[in-house]
Symmetry: C2
Subunit: 417 residues, 2 copies
């Protein structure tokens, strides 16, 4: 017997037929003797509808009222799933965030979970009751509903799993796991059986949109074994109750992964823009002079590369931002030209960042060199490089995105089982 | 300055344009210097949609889960109205039933309000804040959302008014007040400026569907002056802020009504059926033998008339029920024939109960005789009569319904100002 948290997103509970399918997944785990909490999102489309209404009511709306309106979507789904489970003979009840309670900070609309009291839920597990928890929400210190921001139900699920000390948090989604790269680009991409928290964090933040980044962070901190699997596989399909050979990907501590690969996956992020400031005065405080105004303008800067120029008294500063912010960023920098001190701004859109990710590269040399050689052989020009302990990110022209992903996927042997 | 509770129903908040109209009504009262709490229903159609989903999920659903699902409709409206008020510069916040809290009993789906703690609301009135309260709901002793049953927002509003010791509870509705009778039947029907609680109770329970019966009972018990007015009148229309000459009807204590009329209104209830048991053995317990089985079959018995028959040893028992229950009632009685002991069952459908209502008749003789004479002059046959202190109800053939209403309306001078 295990204690499991199961999470189902909006498309999995889009209508009553799908909610019945979710209930059958839950019943399967209950029938296997497990203690179960289920976390649900709003029915697909509902959250957008509610958000749109708050915008229509006022463009500048009170985030606390936004939360009261938008959180109603998950409230509905939790009640409907509880009813459906009961009709199948499963003892179940719904829980709103304020009932458990799931305590958050006061950042309405994008609140962070501070604490979950799992006492009541655990007591009811003991009585054989399934908890159906409305995702995406908790209660703030002001005793008002606080939502966690879009996609927050993943975070709810992991937090509940930590709060009730679950053995596993199953995230049911419209994909059947995490792949070595995007299968739409590389058909030979393989589903990973396991991936370490740190690797998943890099995959998620780079655009492999299986799980919300915050939920992976939370899973890593609390060591919640998180299992990504498909909600559209039939509940009674072979292997669905066989966790030793699971139809999904387990995100877990690296110690649990027996055969660690050097490289686990290739991620990419589209629509990047690059800005270069030429001949920036090389003096203390110049980075602050550049990135301060950009931060104030809410422009998210990603890769930053700094080179000493030939004469040794000035520097070239290159960084990437989302393409959509490029014109705004150039305007901000031109306005700050005197304060910063530079010769020229150069900018380029339509770039792609391709990343090689793997915990194994910490103990293996030559991983980066392999990537550079492979891309050079295909004639792909590298515009910028940044590296971390477990990741190499390479900025290239967008036209070469697919070729680069396939090349790197192959050169690290990810297409071989 | 007064303290006012304003209540708006589903059609008044059906979309964001109408919600803006509601906000303008609220702003008018705030600008007049009043302290204001607003109680809102769900957007028109939303509650039906949510109820239908709970039925689809399971015909026999847990009432506590039904409540969690259905109460979300009012939660949405309360947040949207708060946002809209804020955008007009009005300091406002939404309140869910569990936040105030509005404490109810445990009868989920049809809960009764036990207690409202108005402390927090009153403190915020002092800070100039408008409370926007989600109607139709509270929190049960099990710490779960409990709804008050359909139309419960009227009851919420009156209960909030009692809880915060409001000077008045304004019920905004799609009619502009309570009329001496149904204007669709008698175009000369007049809007009443005032009506006593007891009279309104009779009017409401007899099918003048302006206010929920329970809300009138509650208003009577707590002496909440309740003002029925139109939400579709423009907020800045003449007289809307002139409570001394109000465009609506004030339901209040009879002591407040200076010029009490003998008869206040003529109500009617359609689709009544009459059942007569002939030659029932006249013995103790016979009433229980008849009405016990009917109650067990959930058949609502209204008028009951008992006459001693000629021979003095048996009696004729006549009563009315909703037409739709007639066949069921006859079957129940036939089954209990031996236990009851009677000669025959006679039944008739398509009847109408017309009622003359007025507190003044307590101190005036001859009110009933006037009705009987007037109906007789029009050739309308009376099938049964019941009376209370402030009401005379007459059962007639349905074909004469409109004629009877118009005749009685005229004979008591209700068509004259």
């Amino acid at each position: 017997m295990a204690r499991i948290v199961m999470k189902f997103g909006g498309t999995s509970v889009a209508d009553l037929e799908r909610i019945r399918n979710v209930a059958r997944h839950v019943k399967r785990e209950v029938d296997s003797g497990h203690e179960v909490a289920v976390v649900v999102s709003a029915m697909a489309g509902k959250t957008n509808e509610l958000v749109e209404w708050t915008r229509e009511a006022s463009a500048l709306h009170d985030a606390r009222e936004y939360d009261a309106v938008v959180a109603s979507g998950e409230q509905v789904t939790s009640g409907l799933l509880a009813i459906t489970l009961q009709s199948m003979g499963v003892n179940a009840r719904s829980w709103q965030g304020w009932q458990i309670p799931i305590r958050t900070n006061n950042a309405h609309g994008a609140a962070r979970i501070l604490d979950i009291d799992g006492t009541d839920l655990i007591r009811r597990f003991g009585e054989g009751q399934v908890a159906v928890v409305a995702g995406f929400q908790g209660i703030g210190p002001d005793n008002r509903i606080a939502t966690l921001g879009r996609g927050g139900s993943d975070t709810s699920a992991v937090a509940i799993a930590a709060g009730v000390k679950a053995d596993r948090c199953d995230i049911y989604t419209d994909v059947d796991g995490v792949y070595t790269t995007d299968p739409r680009i590389e058909p030979a991409a393989r589903r990973l059986k396991t991936i370490a928290f740190e690797e998943m964090l890099e995959m998620a933040s780079l655009g492999a949109k299986v799980l919300q980044v915050r939920s992976v962070e939370l899973a890593m901190v609390h060591k919640v074994r998180t299992f990504v699997r498909s909600s559209f596989t039939e509940p009674d399909a072979p292997g669905m109750d066989d966790f030793d050979n699971p139809p999904g990907t387990l995100i877990c501590d690296e110690d649990e992964i027996v055969e660690q690969e050097v490289v686990t996956g290739i991620a990419y992020a589209k629509d990047e823009a690059q800005i270069s400031l030429r001949r920036v005065a090389d003096r203390p405080g110049v980075s602050a002079a550049i990135f301060g105004p950009l931060a104030e303008a809410h422009i998210n800067v990603d890769m930053i590369v700094q080179n000493i120029s030939e004469d040794g008294t000035s520097t070239d500063m290159t960084f990437t931002i989302p393409s959509g912010d490029m014109d705004k960023a150039v305007a901000v920098l031109e306005k700050a030209r005197e304060a910063i001190g530079f010769d020229a701004v150069q900018s380029e859109q339509g770039l792609v960042k391709v990343s090689v990710i793997g915990i194994g590269m910490r103990s293996h040399a030559g991983v980066a060199a392999t990537a550079f050689t492979a891309l050079a052989e295909k004639g792909i020009n590298i515009k910028a490089i940044t590296t971390s302990e477990i990741k190499i990110s390479i900025l290239i022209d967008g036209a070469y995105a697919e070729l680069a992903v396939r090349t790197l996927h192959s050169v690290y042997g990810l297409d071989k089982t």
